[in-house]
């Protein structure tokens, strides 16, 4: 039997506010444990929440960027559970009036476009963090009360690959909109997946499991693929799927059961009486809508139409806002757009992928990359040398000109110097010369290679080519002599 995978994602995103959702504590990542706390976010008796308007504005911005309708009359609800990282023993969240509803994200997988529906986007507060030490468990409340949005997709995804594409696109949109720095590695974007399988053609859903602990895009993809295969296997052997929460084991690349869903907590939601329901004014929504910058799909369209990039290249270059911004800054610094795009696609992204880095992790600046491209264009260095310079530049952050000078990589343009090398190579390789004269054009390539070798790659390849041909034609004349 053929099975179909059905996936819905729940994504939590930390909003890029300066302060927490209900108090004035800072939200910066990496502060000393419990430095960013106060009586309100530590839930001392007598404290009351005070809503951070910036967080509401960013949530609305996120919702609008994802095509959501904005819920005009909204409120906060208390979600109760006991856990040491949750000081009030309830989380302020939104139960039945999420700030955004009915949005969508468009993805493209294997050349096929697909619209993934977003059921809801709501605002809530983050919890603290437990730190396990040999002496016992400690709690760091710095993250407690940081504003989050939870974005729940419809069960529209059909594979790990689609889930990854959705997540990449979602991340891009939120980064472009400027609502979050969406860094999975710092936990400012977290993702849980609801996975089930069903026989192809079946319209009812199978029993789902919830997968947690996926810390990168690739682990999301792998975890879902593994889990779907596991479920198919269970069903194929006549078993049934248990509704449960499973965690992804990154090292073993498998999902492992955590707890059965039947015993899941009863959250006892009810409207928060400390924060009266509020109305989002129409004018505020309009103002926020007007402030939304160019989003990834628009930018991609611009690259195709304005700069003539291929849809594929335009897609890759706009997938991450930081990469796209770097690319645009490089173009702005001067240089041929397509050459720069090519360098971005092959060298820059190749390097980042290979070293598992982001563009923010490398010291190279857009101005340096633009300079490098210009050095090739004006013939100062060859394309091959440029790759060496690039390696140095992306790692050290030095500017390409100084690298070229320091390493003596300037292209040899001196005709008399090259003529000398060429005549030496021609004398030393009579067989290649004979082959060339016998009409074997490939022999020329071999000779060019020899000249480049002698000059350690610094010779201007075009010049070498010309000089060699000239020398060889002179030989032909000698042969045909009197």
């Amino acid at each position: 039997m053929t099975y179909e995978t059905v996936v819905g994602l729940e994504v939590h995103v930390e909003l890029a506010t300066k302060t927490k959702l209900f108090c004035e504590c800072r939200t910066d990542f990496g502060a000393e444990p419990n430095a960013n706390t106060c009586p309100i976010c530590l839930a001392h008796p007598g404290t009351l929440p005070r809503l951070n308007e910036e967080a509401v504005a960013l949530a609305i911005k996120a919702a609008l960027s994802l095509g959501c309708e904005i819920t005009r009359e909204t409120k906060f609800d208390r979600k109760h559970y006991f856990y040491p990282d949750l000081p009030k023993a309830y989380q302020m969240s939104q139960f039945d009036r999420p700030i955004g509803q009915n949005g969508f994200v468009e993805i493209e997988v294997d050349g096929e476009k697909k619209r993934i529906r977003i059921e809801r986007l709501h605002l809530e507060e983050d919890a603290g963090k437990l730190v396990h030490t040999p002496a016992g468990t400690l709690v760091d409340f710095n993250r407690g009360g940081v504003p989050l949005i939870e974005i729940v997709s419809a069960p529209d995804l059909r594979s790990g690959k689609e889930a990854r594409a959705y997540l990449e696109k979602l991340r891009a949109i939120l980064a472009y909109a400027g609502v979050s720095d969406v860094r999975m590695e710092e936990g400012s974007l977290r993702c849980d997946a609801n996975v089930s399988v069903r026989p192809l053609g079946e319209t009812r859903f199978g029993t789902k499991t919830e997968i947690k602990n996926m810390n990168s895009l690739s682990s999301v993809e792998k975890a879902i693929e593994y889990e779907a295969a596991r479920q198919v296997e269970v069903l194929a052997q006549g078993g049934t799927i248990r509704q449960e929460t499973r965690r992804f084991d990154e090292a073993r690349r498998v999902t492992v059961a955590m707890r059965a869903k039947e015993t899941a907590a009863d959250y006892r939601y009810f409207p928060d009486p400390d924060m009266v329901p509020f109305t989002i004014p129409e004018a505020w929504i309009d103002e926020i809508r007007a402030s939304i910058p160019e989003l990834p799909d628009e930018r991609r369209g611009r690259y195709i139409e304005q700069w003539g990039l291929s849809p594929y290249d335009a897609g890759v270059l706009t997938l991450e806002k930081d990469v796209s911004d770097f690319f645009e800054a490089t173009v702005a610094a001067g240089g041929d757009v397509k050459t720069i795009a090519n360098w971005m696609m092959v060298e820059v992204l190749g390097y980042l992928n290979k070293h598992q880095k982001t563009i923010r992790d490398v010291p190279m600046t857009p101005a340096h990359l633009a300079q490098l491209v210009r050095l090739i264009e004006d013939g100062t260095i060859s394309g091959r040398i440029a790759k060496t310079v690039f390696q140095e530049m992306i790692e050290s952050g030095a500017d390409p000109k100084s690298i070229v000078e320091a390493k003596g990589l300037l292209q040899i343009q001196d005709v008399s110097l090259l003529e000398e090398v060429v005549s030496r190579v021609v004398e030393a390789h009579p067989q290649s010369v004979a082959d060339y004269l016998a009409g074997k054009e490939r022999a020329l390539g071999h000779l060019v290679g020899q000249v480049m070798k002698e000059t350690k790659g610094k010779a201007n390849p075009k010049l070498v080519n010309d000089l060699l041909q000239k020398a060889l034609e002179a030989k032909r004349a000698d042969h045909a002599g009197p």
Partner: protein, 484 residues
Amino acid sequence: MTLFDERIPELVRRMKDGELSPVELAEEAIRRIEDVDTRVGSFLERNDALLQSAEQLLDKRNRGEALGALYGLPAGIKDNIAVKGMKLTCASRMLADYRPLDDAVVIERLRAEDALFVGKLNLDEFAMGSSTETSAFQKTRNPWNPETVPGGSSGGSAAAVAAREVVFALGTDSGGSVRQPASFTGIVGFKPTYGRIPRTGVVAFASSFDTVGVLAKTVDDAAYVYDQLHGYDERDTTSLPRDAEATFATLGQDVRGLRAAVPEEWLENIDPEVKARIEEALGVMEGLGIGVDVVRLPHLSYAEAAYTILASAEAASNLARFDGVRYGFRPEGIADIDELYTRARSAGFGWEVKRRLMLGTFALSAGRYEDFYLKAQKVRTRIREDLARVFADYDLIVGPTAPTPAFHFKERLDDPLKMYQNDRFTVPANLAGLPAISVPAGFSGSGLPIGLQIMGDATDDARVLQVAYAFQEATLHHVRRPAL
């Protein structure tokens, strides 16, 4: 006759004029507490720095600085309101050693007007109770009869004012906790419109009901203090703007021609002496030119049940934070987090609190929510609508504050339903967020005070005070004081 029998504005005038010093008043408070508090038991903690603070106020006057409206007045504070420098116990083992980091907004406002803090006053644990008997620490006795309760939950505040240990006190009223003890101790207890006084720094029991109120000997004293307390604070987004100016200045306004409704249900199944005093009081009101009609409010009989469910649900949520992790009671030798929760909460809370937390958790739980929490919310809405209909035709709703005078210790402690029913006339004002006051309306045959409740429409705080003042000035009930 003591200094504390004097009306507040007169005391302040005398101190500002230098006829009397804040130090004398502070000494009077200390003397009174030493004389009577072993018999009354109002205070959980006394402010050791009281005399120093009084001397500082005296210096302030000597330096010629501007003096506040409450200059030199010794006040008592219910121990669920944060006063920096003193403990904030809520009369619970859970917070026996807890010290707040900041003053409550109401304390900031009293401080700004140069009031003195005598100490923290006893209450039912976390303000849950109607007799102050659920305090984990001590019994507070009714100054009129030591065998009877002072009412609750602001029993310490009421007893301290009645016993003249303080000039006024702050309490909180979620279901009658300011008005009922005022009624039991023969003083005035004013609960303003919900939101008039910011709650920041007041330990939440039931957030949508909790209201800070003033307990004082007379209506004019209560109005004078209330004027220093009301108005919006950005730290409590449920607080109301100060659209109404001072109420004290409006006392004495003519009340002739106003119309008062008496719910029929409020004159049924009550103590005959209470009924008699209330009927006399209604006669006094008619004599003041206020029209009095008996009306029917069909949903009012469900008020107590709705209140019990909703307040317990909010309490179960509000008190969930007391888990022994960050502050508060923490048992020794715990093995894991579940044991910490279980033991901290089992030993940290008393029975009444636990009863309500279980009730509230039940009312919110899956499968019960619709039948309990949601239904109670609907009843709350109906009661609001009923009251709004009455206020379309009437200016006031009047009746008894409580169905009986003060009862004896242990009389109701083991019968929660009977205890909760004591609140049945006071909870409607909390369900609808309306202003209400209890004023002395006479005594029972055995000499226990009986209170008249006057309730107004939302934000009609000044009118409630005006009518209560007119009633007070037409009677002499407030002049009597306990023998002690």
